[in-house]
Amino acid sequence: MTTPVQEGRPVATRPALLNHNLTASSGIGLGISMLWFSLLVLIPLAAVIATAAAGGWDEFWRTITNEQTSSAIKLTLKAAALVTLVNIVIGTAIAWVLVRDKFWGKGLLELIIDIPFALPTIVAGLVLLSLYGVNSPLGIEVANTGDSVFLAFLFVTLPFIVRMVQPVLEELDEDVEEAAASLGASRVTIFRRIILPSLAPAIAAGAALSFARAVGEYGSLVLLSGNLPFKSEVASVRILSAIENDNRAGAASIATLLLVISLLVIIVLDVVQRRVARRG
């Protein structure tokens, strides 16, 4: 906490980059945390990119445009985008019902929302198979088809938008809605002009997380999709088969593509959160 002035150094000569208020123990804490974070996350992820880059751009491009791989990537992105759209609508609707509606058994719904997050992904796949697999009690068999990818993504991304939107909706000041109503706004207008703009950042953040989660999904598909090339095979499965064929450069190339998507999502989240913080 000693300021540079007391050490006899003028403040101005201190580069802005070194501005901090760390004490000795918090400095050590930061050092150890950064070391651990680097060893566990940053260096391994850097290794993925480095391995992909080692083969050069042409190699990278050839890997991801390989017919089977590009088909898997397209399927993944298409299903993830579609699922995100569905979640934007149904996730907001679920959050709305949880906050504004009141009925017996609502508590149970709260519990159900979190199950996909807590359930091991391999179990999630098995769970979906029990209703949508062979001999489906509903007569809807999606196992081993492209639709199974869509279904699995829907399941694992269920909580993201709900859990982002719900607290914002709870904090929403109902006075504002009543004020709008007193000024003659209809319920649809109130939703569109008053409520939706307040929810938009939370929906955007939830949508980004939900898209990222879907793009990288693997576990829930193992038993459900059958991983059929050109039909139900997703990007992460392609990475896995590349690893199993000892083609690490190829695996790293596809992984880099997924990583870039993850990074974009992180950036979107950061921007959205900063905008919300500014709005206060």
């Binding site: 070194l18 901090h20 208020n21 760390l22 918090s26 804490g29 930061l30 945390s33 950064m34 974070f37 566990l40 996350v41 940053l42 391994p44 992820l45 290794a47 993925v48 149904i90 609707a93 709305w96 019902v97 504004r100 509606d101 719904l109 519990l111 159900i112 979190d114 199950i115 807590a118 091991p120 992904t121 391999i122 179990v123 098995l126 769970v127 029990s130 829907l154 399941f155 109902e174 997380l209 990222a212 989660r213 990288g216 999904e217 576990g219 193992v222 038993l223 990007a235 992460s236 990475i239 690490r248 695996a251 790293a252 992984a255 990583l259 993850s262 990074l263 992180i266 989240l269 950061d270």
Partner: protein, 296 residues
């Protein structure tokens, strides 16, 4: 907070409720119930059968061991990083706070690959050196712990950071003014204030760690009885046409997940109740206002 005003219930309200309930039943509730009924189709024999198979017991033990170690590491790391992010200023803080969330959006398969590229004993960046010192990481328990710690890394931080922001620094300053050192302030004031957030974080981390599949599949080598975790055993059982066994193991894992959600729910409800008694204690509104308006 006052109870919500009575909502005007039109046909739209009921329609929306019906749609939401139907969606959740079809997507989550019904399939989960089916797994439970499948498990007990043949009585409790398949469930008890798990515990007489030494390989499965080993898988359960390995999963529990890796989850506990990873959770312990992530809890310590999470509390330290949360404090750094909320209470201190340092160069690179913004990048760090953004990157901390990265593990949540990275594919488990990419996680596995990343760890193999760095820690593989034969040709990883650090692997051969570590192997030279006698540490095997990939295809061994440490690799499973690393993969598990990676995927559940931000969960404690995401719970603790908002609470730290919410409680502010006034109590800590008061403790300092009464003579408490940094450590004393942390143990006596800060930690008790974030206690429940840490507990939620731990429960969520534990549940996530027990259930990790993709990353562990790549780093573990999946050797039965040695590096096969419970989730890997589910896959193996199912692919070997032992559906009953797969369902039983899944039931076990799902029970742990549902239990952890219920625990977190209970704790949250408890927190809400404490707030409720606070606002019903007859204290004038003006006295409650500052703590709510102080988040600026």
């Amino acid at each position: 907070m006052a109870s919500r005003r009575q909502v005007r219930k039109g046909p739209f309200t009921y329609l929306l409720r019906l749609a939401v309930v139907t969606y959740l039943v079809l997507l989550v509730a019904w399939p989960v119930v089916l797994v439970v009924t499948h498990t007990f189709e043949g009585g409790t024999a398949t469930l008890t059968g798990i515990f007489s198979d030494p390989d499965l017991v080993a898988a359960l033990e390995l999963s529990a061991y890796a989850a506990v170690i990873a959770t312990a590491i992530n809890t310590l790391f999470g509390v330290v990083v949360s404090l750094l992010l909320v209470r201190y200023e340092f160069p690179g803080k913004r990048i760090m706070s953004a990157l901390i969330d990265l593990p949540l959006s990275v594919s488990p398969i990419v996680v596995g690959l990343a760890l193999v590229l760095v820690y593989a004993g034969r040709d990883g960046w650090f692997g051969p050196t570590l192997e030279g010192w006698g540490f095997q990481i990939i295809f061994a328990t440490p690799g499973i712990i690393l993969a598990t710690a990676f995927v559940s890394l931000p969960l404690v931080i995401r719970e603790v950071v908002p609470v730290l922001q919410e409680i502010g620094t006034e109590q800590e300053q008061a403790a300092s003014s009464l003579g408490a050192s940094g450590w004393q302030t942390f143990w006596r004031i800060t930690l008790p204030s974030i206690k429940w957030a840490v507990v939620y974080g731990v429960v969520l981390t534990l549940a996530r760690s027990l259930g990790e599949f993709g990353a562990v599949k790549i780093v573990s080598g999946n050797f039965s009885g040695e590096t096969r975790t419970t989730t890997l055993a589910v896959e193996e059982k199912y692919l070997n046409f032992d559906q009953q066994g797969a369902y039983a193991l899944s039931f076990l894992l799902a029970s742990v997940s549902v239990l952890s959600i219920i625990i977190v729910f209970g704790l949250r409800a408890r927190g809400a109740r404490v707030n409720e008694t606070r606002s019903h204690s007859g204290a004038p509104v003006a006295e409650l206002a500052p703590s709510e308006g102080r988040t600026s």
